[in-house]
Amino acid sequence: MNSTVTNEVLVFKTNIRYKKDVSKIMPLLESDNRVMEWNVDQMDVDNVLRIASGGLHPTEVITMIQTAGYFCEELPD
């Protein structure tokens, strides 16, 4: 707990709204071993996709999610 440094956290606004949408992007994210941990905040209006990763570039994620047919935009810091 309370480690001062975390894996890099990438945060995206998406329209991954329902369970079926989450299961569609699941195989894409799980097959990339730079993705340590990920989740979609389905309780919030922005359906935020949060990825803790080692060395993944935001544009790679955007391409991946758009390929699956969803809107994806990085949330600025």
Partner: protein, 196 residues
């Protein structure tokens, strides 16, 4: 690599607590929270996985604080009168010093994250169970169904706190302030009702 900033995390927690205390769960969106805390939505997600995670962590933090405050200086072996008196003072002090925390816990009561925290808490049921069993065995209090007991033992206190926090008494009687003498007066009557 992003550096965790504890001051920022604390501010996010405070603002989220305030939003839920005032408007319930529906009042909390990450966008609104980010604006209130003066951070970007992305920053919130560094500290919290999602909205549910944030709410669960708030329940844990506030629940722990409330339990610690309630049992400050309390011993379940105490005589019923002394034990209840300490609890009244503790609960009253907690509410008056942390009205936002109190209102937060009221708002989230019986929600899944609240149940997740209080369902695993062993302190509250252990201390209160021991205290009550003891007091009943020593004939210091009459045995009652839990809800009836609570409604007599604590509901009057929370009603007085509500009057105090609203600043208004009944009707047009003007401002109401819960002072020690009013607290003692009510506690006296409650104890009278609960004694065998």
């Amino acid at each position: 690599m992003r550096i965790r900033d504890e001051a920022k995390e604390k501010l996010i927690r405070e603002k989220a607590l305030e939003m839920i205390a005032k408007q319930g769960f529906e009042g909390l969106s990450m966008q609104k929270l980010a604006k209130a805390a003066g951070v970007s939505p992305a920053t919130i997600y560094i500290y919290f996985k999602d909205r549910d995670d944030l709410i669960l962590q708030l329940c844990k933090e506030e629940g722990t604080k409330m339990i610690e405050a309630t049992f400050d200086g309390f011993d379940p072996e105490m005589h019923f009168e002394e034990g209840l008196s300490i609890q009244w003072k503790n609960r009253c002090r907690y509410w008056l010093e942390n009205p936002m925390s109190g209102q937060f816990l009221e708002q989230v009561k019986h929600s899944p994250p609240y149940e997740a925290f209080f369902g695993q808490d062993k302190v509250f049921p252990r201390l209160m169970g021991h205290f009550m069993a003891n007091a009943i065995a020593k004939k210091e209090v009459i045995p009652l169904p839990a809800e009836v007991y609570w409604s007599v033992a604590f509901a009057p206190l929370y009603q007085l706190i509500k009057f105090h926090l609203s600043g208004k008494g009944l009707g047009n009687r003007g401002p109401f302030v819960l002072d020690e003498s009013k607290l003692e007066m009510t506690l006296f009557l409650v104890l009278k009702a609960l004694k065998p």
